[in-house]
Symmetry: C2
Subunit: 412 residues, 2 copies
């Protein structure tokens, strides 16, 4: 049965999340399928940022650390994210970048297992996670090894030599989702610890870190949490590890009494010691706006909608784009999917550039993947129809094959 636009309009009318769309700025005529790279801007952002700079910084100056609670922002926003990712209370703090937090988490996992030397990860893991581990291993100089596998090799690749399993829950490339509970369970059975990177799942679906008996988790604030470009990242450390695990990098914002200015480090209790240096308050305050919006939404509804959007999009591609060379590289099993759909195409780069020029914004991931993100809070079903129609015209009229679409950009 072919899908019609009218059916999709009906899905939009019945969408329990439909009112959230009006809470975001979405430029006229743009179909935004890249919220998994940079979330759209909540409408509340300009006012919050204006008040932050004009009132808090401009007028109250240094006093704002106390009077406007800047000093509590990392803990407060961390706690809110903890709720979204299913961590227990007091397990999550906002700090640094995802990369630095991967460094801290893997380093702590290795320190808890000094007799084991192997970090396992996925060959196609988001590269910065692998770079962080490479640099950690180089810095430590203790003969650790990073071993890379394919997704299907997990959890079997985990064995008695494994110190730490570092995986991104949902793949940035394919949208493939790991079974966090099963892999964590196997890791523990083999005596290994886990570090979960939640960049592509936090805010997109219900997560249950506590139920998965997680060890460490990290993630960014600028995708499904809509915290703004380069929003600070978060780290979560399970309570069971908080007494023994220490961050590899200690700073005054993680000290038990930062303003005692003691010359020796004394870790703050609980998750607080995982904060390091002075946090970027403008970016952190913006992140809170995005996180607050995510907290209002039902993550179950987000998940249901995003799975449905995947089905619709894939159905439309089959229906409208047959023979145009798009190969689905995302899992067809809903239990193994994140909130995006990805197609390999030999002309993936110019096709995506042409789509973007026509205001259908997805992105390209080397070597040949066109990626379309579903952000349930603001993406409608009828937009999927319109996006596929634009893509169809681009393919049928070969519009992508123009010189300007072949030129490479610095950021893809």
């Amino acid at each position: 049965m072919p899908i019609t636009r009218a059916q999709l309009e009906a899905l939009d009318r019945d969408d329990p999340l439909r009112l959230f769309r009006d809470r975001f700025v979405l430029p006229d005529g743009v179909i935004y399928l890249d919220g998994n790279s940079l979330g759209a801007m909540p409408k509340a952002i300009p006012a919050r940022v204006r008040s932050l700079v004009e009132e808090e910084w401009g007028k109250d100056l240094i006093r704002s650390w106390n009077t406007h609670g800047w000093i509590d922002l990392q803990a407060r926003v961390g706690e809110k994210i903890g709720h979204i990712i299913g961590a227990r209370e007091g397990e999550t703090v906002v700090c640094d970048s995802t990369t630095v937090n991967v460094f801290k988490a893997v380093s702590a996992a290795l320190a808890l297992h000094p007799e084991r030397k192997v970090v396992l990860s996925e060959r196609s893991n988001f590269p910065t996670d692998l770079y962080a581990v490479e640099s950690l291993i180089r810095s430590l100089g203790k003969g650790h090894k990073l071993e890379l596998f394919e997704p299907r090799e997990f959890p079997d690749a985990i064995d008695e030599n494994t110190a730490c399993v570092l995986l991104t829950h949902v793949s940035y490339r394919t949208g493939r989702m790991y079974d966090m509970h099963a892999i964590t369970k196997t890791a523990h059975e083999k005596g290994a610890l886990t570090v979960w990177d939640l960049c592509h799942s936090a805010g997109a679906m219900p997560l249950d870190l506590a139920g998965a008996n997680y060890d460490f988790a990290v993630g960014c604030g600028y995708k499904f949490l809509n915290g703004g470009p380069g929003a600070p990242a978060f780290i979560a450390v399970a309570r069971k590890h908080q007494k023994l695990a220490m961050p590899a990098i200690s700073g005054w914002f993680g000290h038990a009494s930062p303003f005692a200015f003691e010359s020796s480090y004394k870790p703050a209790d609980g998750i607080a010691c995982w904060a390091v240096g002075t946090p970027p308050i403008l970016s952190l305050a913006a992140l809170e706006v995005g996180v607050d919006l995510a907290l209002e939404a039902s993550l179950d509804a987000c998940r249901a909608k995003s799975l449905r959007q995947f089905e619709v999009f894939d159905h439309l591609v089959a229906q409208e784009l047959r023979g145009h060379g798009f190969t689905l590289v995302s899992p067809s099993n809903p239990a193994e999917r994140g909130s995006q759909i990805c197609y390999a195409h030999e002309h993936g780069w110019p096709i995506m550039q042409c789509l973007i020029a026509q205001n259908v914004i997805g992105d390209f991931r080397a070597p040949d993947i066109d990626r379309f993100g579903f952000t349930p809070l603001y993406l409608g079903f009828a937009e999927l129809w319109d996006a596929v129609q634009v893509l169809r015209r681009i393919m049928e009229e070969r519009l992508w094959d123009a010189p300007q679409f072949h030129a490479r950009a610095k950021v893809t």
Copy 2:
């Protein structure tokens, strides 16, 4: 000869930097002597931040990484800061926090000197620098030691066991300034490397890292660079070390081709590989506004004015506050001073709280120091008179000895 307010008004009229004051927001009635903790807000900030969120994030979304040059911000602002601190071209990049950059710089220095095990620093160095080194030593587990000395023990404390000397150029506590050229020279003669923390000098005075033959430097953006609360920090690495030194933490923003998504780290050329994760763009864009303003000013004029303000303030304290128990803890020799003046007082805490309540904003540093910063771009001479008059009344009428001023705040 007593100083009069009229004389100070004359100094303000003749101040070659006087036009800069109007480029900052300074709330009516506030005398701001804490720009060395958080710089005042440039008037250009609200418009820049509004355009960043409303136009760049809100409308252009992910495309802004290319079209608005977000991808170049760390390098561009870094280069500008490099100019301010006297680094050579291609030696400075904005990234992470000062703490994380101390970790990276000291770690690189230790890796260059694997046979040496000692990091030297000052007992009263800003604590986060010491915490970063403590955690680095703990993480490495290779028997390194952090040895702490008094300022007067430098450079003599440096010897053939010293791998790295980590010093803050201007002390946060006392405003005492080290002779960067002499200490670096001695360090090199002993075969040691140096890491200079410029938090309290970048933007306050001319600096000449290249002339001092520096190795590594770090610093923050939120003091004399007026980049906003928690503005991202910078790191500078001398060219002579760029081929061999590697950051302890590698991430995709320091990769030679981040968007090739290669699974192995390949460092970008030069200073670029010292960037790590995705930077917080809101905070980074605000920092650029502050840095641009600092670039317009003559740093020689800033230095001359700040030294003069120190003299005036100290003269006024002697003239107006004799017998009230303030002991100068900043060096009297101008060549050894930064851009602040500090007094020890047994009631330092409540006195400062009372001053702040009367809109004269300095700050307190444990255990007993009242600290007043001179930010040449926006602080006038007559304001020093007014500040001291407020302080005089507070002391004469013992206004500070009220319960609300004894209560401790979270941030001091």
